[in-house]
């Protein structure tokens, strides 16, 4: 045997051993769903109470009501869950039975790949009860997940700093907001905090200006078609640029994170350093966690984003989104029953009582006790149409290119046209 032949044999041996080892790793047939004993795996994003405790209770109650069913419920950090754990589990064929599903582009990608169970018929009654909030989790008219919380983005503000600056009512138009900013600055108070270091909080400002510039018809047709030729998309950036010229934001906002530490945008509001922040419905929890006593400050209040003059946008259109759960295509039927229980009026009322968010089910509206969440719920009730956050609506591929192009406007190195170019380039590469 010469050296070359020997090398070849060794390589063949090594490869065959590798293949054998890999084959041994392949999962054996999953027998869950057959026979009496069924285990349902449920993944959610609650890593602290009250929500983590509520989900554990819900799982235990479902086990008690369904003998032979075991529910393994686990909470993971939000981005780890959505960006790493769930995609890997789906791709490896070992998906959890019930798991958190982001609306818009993400539910579309998962449904089109055949990973999600179509709930349209199985949960028809519940879908009708929940109503309009289910729309962001629909793909081509079919329902692939159900929301348990839903809210809109608005401006969180410090009533004490507003009083100090002599502002007696919440701004209703963009000009009112600019006047309020000047009044705050005159008192030496920074008007607005934005966590542009994390990109998406700056992105939300542009999304909101796009909602004001674009008609509902444009929003509803352009986003699924990924067609950004309408001039309103450029106008959104121009309005943002004009607003940025009034210098309303905190020092160093380009490197400010959104939610971590006292120097984050939420931390600046929490500790009375900045008067306002434009942020989603979860913000009272974040702000509460960043104060010295870990309580939501009494001065915190909320108002909807002011209307912007001009543009085709309908002032009653708001921007928001929520959290929902879907069922894996391979899950046993009983998993759908668990999903229905999670989203039932009774559990949704308990969810609202915890103050963890605004329940999506209308029957839970009266159970909301937190005053800030009540204001958001009122804003939601007054909305003619809720546009899902644009990065979520467009899908994960768009998030970074879009938000980076928007932050470039914030940093003075990008133009409104660049944002539209980023959108078109990303769409072209899909």
């Amino acid at each position: 045997m010469n050296k070359r032949a020997a090398t070849r044999w060794a390589a063949i041996a090594a490869v065959s051993v590798t293949v054998g080892a890999l084959a041994a790793c392949a999962p054996s047939d999953d027998t869950a769903g057959e026979g009496d004993n069924v285990t349902i795996r449920w993944w959610h994003n609650a890593t602290s109470d009250p929500l983590q405790g509520l989900w554990a209770d819900v799982a235990a109650e479902f086990e008690a009501a369904n003998p032979g069913v075991t529910v393994e419920v686990t909470g993971y950090q939000n981005e780890d869950l959505q960006r790493t754990l769930i995609p890997n589990a789906l791709q490896s064929g070992d998906a959890p039975d019930v798991f958190q599903v982001w609306p818009g582009g993400e539910v579309r990608a998962q449904a089109e790949a055949g990973y999600l169970r179509d709930l349209t018929d199985d949960a028809a009654d519940l879908i009708a009860e929940i109503g309009g909030a289910t729309a962001p989790w629909q793909v081509d008219g079919r329902q692939y997940a159900l929301p348990f919380s839903f809210g809109i983005t608005g401006i969180w503000y410090n009533t004490e700093l507003f009083a100090q600056a002599g502002i007696d009512s919440a701004p209703e138009t963009l000009d009112d907001l600019i006047d309020a900013n000047e009044a705050l600055k005159a008192e030496g108070i920074t008007p607005l905090a934005v966590g542009a270091g994390d990109l998406w909080p700056a992105g939300h400002w542009w999304y909101q200006f796009a909602l004001n510039a674009c008609s509902v018809e444009t929003l509803q047709s352009a986003i699924p078609a990924r067609d950004f030729d309408d001039p309103c998309w450029v106008e959104a950036g121009e309005n943002l640029e004009a607003f940025l010229e009034t210098e309303p934001f905190n020092d160093g906002f380009l490197a400010t994170p959104a939610q971590t530490g006292a120097d984050s945008s939420a931390g600046l509001v929490a500790n009375g350093n900045v008067a306002m922040e434009f942020m989603g419905p979860w913000n009272s929890g974040v702000i509460g966690s960043l104060t010295a006593d870990a309580e939501v400050p009494e001065f915190l209040s909320w108002f909807p984003f002011p209307t912007v003059a001009g543009g085709e946008g309908d002032p009653t259109v708001t921007m928001g989104g929520g959290d929902g759960f879907g069922v894996s295509a391979d899950a046993p039927d009983i998993a759908v029953e668990l999903l229905k229980y999670i989203h039932s009026a009774e559990v949704q009322q308990r969810f609202a009582e915890t103050g963890a968010g605004i329940a999506a089910h209308p029957a839970a509206a009266d159970s909301l006790e937190d005053p800030n969440l009540q204001q958001i719920a009122d804003g939601l009730a007054g909305s003619s149409f809720v546009q899902l956050w644009l990065d979520s609506a467009l899908g994960p591929e768009f998030g970074n290119p879009l938000n980076q192009a928007i932050v470039n406007i914030f940093g003075g190195v990008g133009t409104p046209e660049d944002v539209v170019t980023a959108l078109k380039d990303t769409a072209a590469a899909l």
Partner: protein
């Protein structure tokens, strides 16, 4: 060809009483390969499964438009590479990697050598200084990064210190100013990794024989001549190894940037690895193309450097051409 593979010391332990030389050779060869397979096989399998296969797979994925879900079926050739190499943000990131690489070699290197030469002399408190200089390197990247992020924020310790010293006009949102952020980042990296460079240089200095210094001193050489004519040439292998490690570290730079700025503000501190994480989300094909570009650049730099600068240090390695 077969000759040097026949029974050598490795198989001499075996009782081989049979007379026929060709038969013995065959048996010996078989045993030798069995031993090689037994000893090298497990390591080879692990290496192929977890290193070679993923590299090859990344190369395959990079030719597809793939969101990580569903089957791999939309072949797009080299489009991902074209897209990456025409994205100004990615080109900025490559430029930042090379800026940090060159700055590391030109600034950290001389600094580390000077401090090592100083610490190699008999100084009061030398061991304490040596330990202190090494402290930042021992800290975890995330802890060091978060500490600097807090210190350098607009309301952070650095600005407070400047104010207290009456230097209020020099206060800055250090990591938020795109004009200086990369150099602030480089300063943090220097603070973090200089200790490692100094440690390497000190270790190298231990290998410089004292007799040479004495001989030179007797011949009338001054301290400066001794350092430039004797110490530095003898330290050269250590310096070359450090440059190599520093270059690879600069090209792969991720954790410190991710923790402090995530590549911002407006891409000023972006690096290839940070861009890979940000833009690979939901685009596994594109992310794989970035990974392959990063791999090829690192490999090319490493091979060129090994081939030309470290030829003598690594005699017998893959790239040692002239023998």
């Amino acid at each position: 060809m077969t000759h040097h593979l026949t029974a050598g010391p490795a198989v001499s332990a075996g009782p081989a009483p049979t007379p026929a030389a060709p038969a013995r050779r065959r048996a010996g060869t078989g045993r030798k390969w069995l031993e090689i397979a037994l000893f090298a096989g497990p390591a080879l399998i692990v290496f192929v499964t977890f290193v070679i296969a993923p590299v090859v797979l990344a190369g395959v994925y990079s030719l597809y438009n793939w969101n990580g879900l569903g089957p791999l079926e939309r072949f797009i050739g080299l489009d991902n590479y074209v897209r990456a190499l025409t994205d100004p943000l990615f080109l900025t990131a490559i430029g930042n990697n090379f800026t940090i690489l060159i700055a590391s070699v030109l600034i950290q290197g001389p600094l580390a050598i000077s401090i090592a030469l100083l610490l190699n002399r008999k100084l009061p408190g030398r061991s304490v200084i040596r330990a202190l200089i090494f402290v930042p390197y021992v800290l975890a990247e995330v802890i060091a990064g978060l500490s600097w992020k807090l210190l350098l924020s607009p309301r952070g310790g650095v600005n407070a210190l400047l104010e207290a010293m009456g230097l209020g006009e020099f206060t800055q949102p250090w990591l938020a100013n795109p004009d200086i952020a990369l150099w602030v980042m480089f300063s943090i990296l220097t603070w973090k990794y200089l200790g490692f460079a100094i440690l390497l240089m000190l270790a190298g200095l231990q290998g410089v024989p004292e007799e040479l210094h004495e001989a030179a001193a007797i011949d009338g050489a001054n301290w400066w001549q001794i350092q430039t004519r004797i110490t530095l040439p003898l330290l050269a292998p250590t310096i070359r190894i450090w440059i190599f490690l520093s270059m690879i570290g600069s090209l792969q730079l991720f954790d410190m940037v991710w923790v402090t700025t995530k590549g911002g503000p407006v891409g000023a501190t972006n690096t290839m690895a940070v861009y890979l994480i940000q833009y690979g989300q939901g685009q596994y094909g594109y992310g794989s193309a970035i990974a392959v570009i990063l791999f090829v650049i690192s490999l090319a730099v490493a091979l060129v450097y090994q081939r030309f600068a470290m030829r003598r240090d690594l005699a017998g390695a893959v790239t040692s051409g002239v023998r």
